[in-house]
Symmetry: C2
Subunit: 477 residues, 2 copies
Amino acid sequence: MVKLSDVNSKLMKAHYAVRGKIVIRAHELETQGKKVIYCNIGNPQALKQRPLTFLRQVLSLVEYPALLDAPETAKLFPADAVKRARMILEKNPTGTGAYTHSAGMPFIRKAVAEFIQRRDGMPADPNRILLTDGASKGVQSALTLLLNKPNDGVMIPIPQYPLYSATLALYGAQQVNYFLDERNRWELNEAELERSIEAAKKNGVNTVAIAVINPGNPTGAVLSRKNIGMVIRFARKHGLAILADEVYQENVYGQGLEFTSFAKVMHELGEKDVTLFSFHSVSKGFLGECGHRGGYLEIRNMSDDVYAEMIKLQSIGLCSNTDGQIVTYLMVEPPKPGDESYELYAKERGAILDDLKAKAEILGRGLNEIEGMHTHIPEGAMYAFVRFDLPHPKGTDPAAMPPDERLKYEAARDNKYCLRLLEETGICVVPGSGFGQQPGTLHFRTTFLPPREDITALVEKMKKFHVSYAEKLKSGV
Amino acid sequence: MVKLSDVNSKLMKAHYAVRGKIVIRAHELETQGKKVIYCNIGNPQALKQRPLTFLRQVLSLVEYPALLDAPETAKLFPADAVKRARMILEKNPTGTGAYTHSAGMPFIRKAVAEFIQRRDGMPADPNRILLTDGASKGVQSALTLLLNKPNDGVMIPIPQYPLYSATLALYGAQQVNYFLDERNRWELNEAELERSIEAAKKNGVNTVAIAVINPGNPTGAVLSRKNIGMVIRFARKHGLAILADEVYQENVYGQGLEFTSFAKVMHELGEKDVTLFSFHSVSKGFLGECGHRGGYLEIRNMSDDVYAEMIKLQSIGLCSNTDGQIVTYLMVEPPKPGDESYELYAKERGAILDDLKAKAEILGRGLNEIEGMHTHIPEGAMYAFVRFDLPHPKGTDPAAMPPDERLKYEAARDNKYCLRLLEETGICVVPGSGFGQQPGTLHFRTTFLPPREDITALVEKMKKFHVSYAEKLKSGV
């Protein structure tokens, strides 16, 4: 029988806190009948966000094409949804039940290229676009291609989305941390990037790529064009590929802010040498279609022979799922003004984005009013990364601990805090140590996805919990 | 820029012939307007197999639940499809748009356990069942868990389905070949298994598992209970886990033959020590829902702590796609006698399976009539693995070549043959070297999925091609 000591030691080392022990405990509590508010994961439709009507209408028709010819269909579906479904089945006559090309249906890859062109005002090549089962699989494909030797490493932000650390651990590669600047709206800092890569080099690590998440997860920050340009120059200087995780590109709420893609800035800079992988997904934005596992990966500055290896890798898993591909298509090619469905689509989209913007503010402002809690009002994405202060037990001085011991001490503290929060309030958040944090700080990540009326109550509960928890620690109970 | 010399050398070594160079050439020819008959891949709905009506009706309703309450729905959908869709949405109220538990929706895992219990007459544990994006992803998860050190290896059949060789290469693990016995209906031979593991040991390989494909891909063979029992005892003797690829379990055509699962034989033998991973998929059988990427992985004889690592691995990719999960559910829980949809369902299922059985015979018998071609009439799965004879150029004696050189020589020959076949006839098959074959033999794998009327024409074209190709070789043209 396979024993724990037989198991892949790389898998044993991988951690994915977003679905870790606290979430498993939350499932247990729920089974016991306790109400749990899942703020651990960006899963909008699990928190009552409704799917976009047009999108589901088209999916429904494509799954059961017999509907297209039924007289009742005109009463149940708008004409443009029917037209769109017909078009999809014309372009892809084998329907949802057949494997597609390894990279995805050609007409969808073309539509993605046109979407990028409209978004950024520059051409994109369908032959450098791969449809993937969500962005996670795209990131893993890019890392599989790039990581060659055991001392190869990838720079990742701290805090980061733990897909990156987990995948690097799983692939036996080196994680090269660079800290985001919490005091400066979580931007990337050039001196810190240089420190990071230099430290890696001293440790014998060959850094091959840098991952950037924009808008930020878990930070909620939206990067400036200037900051992106700095990263591109840094990558060029050090011969790195860039992994641009841009899955929250539609989730920008901050006044006067807008999403800028790495591809666009590279194009403006005339950058022809840095290989760029950029990732997008149907799971976030205003679609929130997490369950459909759809997304794409666009590559720039890659030769045909290297791209052929990407296609081969994709082909070993055959292809991404067809519904996910179709949702990706509908994301990049939504109803246009004048289409029958446009008004409803725009209304639904607006309501979701307005709601997210309002909730980001309510949550951010509310938490900032709690003594000992600090957060930037999220400018984008779906999360707040909240710093909280706790008194240390008498006689404990973390600053005097060796770095490894300190990390463990602080991870134990934020884990215990989040577990108590769950047990006492039913609120499920993820400890900061799951994303990484500056030594001497404690955080948790919470989404602001619950319905608006629940967010105020949630802030109240957090306040009561935090005050009492800190008080108990202080008095040594 | 990432250069070919930078690319992961393990990826460079991986080959997946089912979607290799010949298939890429086929796509090119098709783009140029040439008619291609894709016999390279088990993709039934790409070759005009129709989806099962009930299954698509339920999917259509689940994707757009507003239909459930519309008065027109009763005219468009049978009552049991509506009832089933309601039930799915009750059991999983977040619908298709939310991430599920990492292992899949609990009610579907329970339904899979009940399916196994009905099939094999023994209990199955929902808490050892994972829903996966097709069987391929399940196989890759099992291998990720099992492969720890670079000298760890897995026994795979030759010929094999190249997912196994490609994944082992990608994971930097050792491929341990055992030959299937072509003269004995492609069964596994105990002496050959012992030879294989002994040879691996001599090369410093630590064999951790054996993969078996039943019904066979590419062989089309259905294993006997006795043969399966032998493999289980062999695995026990050598401390191996078993990977039982049982995706063709519904595809059994041979007179008096039936599918027997590894789980059932293990249960009958009272085997409590050999860890078993068994894989099933919605892509094959009579569903042929390849595009939906659904399937499951059942594990036996695994402790909770090791299983937790499987769950963690699954969680890093979040979850398998929801439509694939639902198709898996409908596969294991089809309409029952008495249900409104039962009659149509049974009729559609029967027609597909009868057709496949008839086509297996037409193809097998037809090819055997060609001089220099030999194949077993496929007893199961969707393929014939066809041996063909070609004269050698004057002065060439492959038997005198070193093994590596001989492998290359023979691979070049079957590749060239299949490429010419494609160019001259439009028939796309996969060279035997993509699956592995005994030295001194040449094969190709073809599906028998094209419509029945096309199969006879296909056999005729192959005959004409083969005779002329062999003739040209003989005369040294």
